[in-house]
Symmetry: D3
Subunit: 129 residues, 6 copies
């Protein structure tokens, strides 16, 4: 693990994904790097190094914010919502906290978005069981 | 203030808005109830009674989730985002936590959505000063 | 059935779903109430009691408006669009009226949204046949 | 006015806008045809000739569907929503029917979209007064 | 093929789809014209005659713009994105140009939209192989 | 200007914005870096270094793709669309190419999105004159 003082955004991103999902970069590389060289590294650096690893907002809250946003955007984000539900559990959130954040989006994104978010959550929970 | 055991969703919603924004229902009633009878009460009951007052997710996290979702949805939600930024400050979040949640949405909703969210935040902070 | 003078939004919502889809609340309860206690009742009260049961706009037009909106929002609402197409038929609309409302959304939501809406309609009609 | 048997989509569109908003094509031509030659004619032909003038769904319902869709899409459609509210009044809808269609979108597009739609309606009604 | 001087938008649209996808109108007619008489012709006239066949922007750039827009709108446009990827290859673009346009949308529509666009591209490329 | 062999994404991004809009980073820094330390550098690195500076798609086409996507997303992106219209002119596109890309989005994002995009273009052109 890199030390805070000298590491780059990419290193900070990698440190963080070790906690949330150690296979993430490898899975992304295998799926996309042939199509787009540099993709997996770029995503880890941008999303995790340049955002999640920033101070000022704790990781669990960051993940719940992501769950809320992906839900409100709509059911087309289901692949990303499901992965982020897994990350949110890894960040220390409970299933209850996750479904509450999703259900609250009925207010801001409408009932279809919220229901499709609940469908994604249930798929993740059932796969875990 | 109503007691937890016997109160309705509307009462729970009113208790909550007392904390977040005591004028909210009156402002909504003055602006919309002539156009749509029952609107303000319905909104307080649905958004605050049926969502924010639910157990299982703390109020400050709920508010930050709303900030994130409204940002990701896009700049057209600016009026609602600004009011919710005020509520989020009232719920105990810092300005830093708010802008971090907004900026993170560059990952999920794109840079335009995030930048327009930052614009809304700055308007609220400048009006406070 | 409850009388108009004394019923609550939940009762009005239940009266209405008896006409549109008598199984709706039970299906929602079976799918979601374990994940989110109170979900099914909350949805019937909010969507049907607080909106569809309101005077001022007839039920068939309300349903066609919902078809149009779900279409314009995009193909990610397909699960909700399909259920609402069934409800719209139950409210007295013809298949022609439904596909015309969907196709008109090519103007406002673009051709992809309209085409994906037509796809949902065809699935519902073929399942009925 | 053209006869039904031999007219083109453009003619049917022009006949319809005579009823809804006689100045529409001229206003669009003045605003946009220098930027995009043929724009105004193309819009009248496509939106009004190819959609609104079609049989199978009455004009007032078509207009209310448009109101609903534009509301659900979000506050960024305010310029188009306002013009269409005027057209919907011209098609025989009441103010009540219009605000009910808009408010119903709180269910499908979320509260921000519905509130921003109510704001647009109020601007149109106040300008009429 | 029709001559430029006298042809209609429908003829210009048909000329163009001969180059991009000769079966397009027939496939659309078979899928949708029973549901909506006149649909396939209307789409060819509007999208291809009234837009793609216009001078002022070359066909390959037009197609890449469509790829970008469908990606940014989100994964729900996957059916349309896939067809348009095929058209974009037919217009002379390389696979690299297509994936670069899609990936750039991570900036404007967010990472979920871009990733779902890459998924659509890969399905098209694998089906070609 | 940095040489291609050894430069970082940030350097490549800065080289590019020198061509498109030399003041961009300074303007962003002045507007946002107090609110979010590191914001301006992060944006230049991500959008311009990690996307626009990539080989495989020429700059002018990249910019037109951005115009198209921002238009299709809707009028709420007007601030970003306007800046990108300026960049697209700087990349060598003509006004005609720009308005054609915007108008084409009537097909994919609907007429409201396209019209609001044309409004943004006209504001930019009028400010230039």
């Amino acid at each position: 693990m890199s030390t805070a003082a000298t590491n780059t955004a990419l290193e900070r991103g990698r440190d963080l994904t070790q906690q949330l999902n150690p296979n993430l970069e490898a899975v992304l590389a295998e799926r996309y790097d042939d199509l787009l060289p540099g993709f997996s590294e770029s995503l880890i650096e941008w999303a995790y190094g340049r955002h999640y690893a920033r101070p000022g907002l704790d990781l669990k809250t960051r993940q719940l914010c992501t769950i809320a946003a992906l839900t409100a955007l709509g059911g087309q984000t289901a692949p990303q919502l499901k992965i982020n539900i897994e990350h949110t559990l890894a960040s220390g959130a409970s299933r209850t906290e996750i479904v509450e954040a999703i259900w609250q989006m009925a207010v801001y994104g409408g009932l279809p978005a919220a229901i499709n978010g609940l469908n994604a959550a249930r798929e993740v929970f059932e796969a875990e069981a």
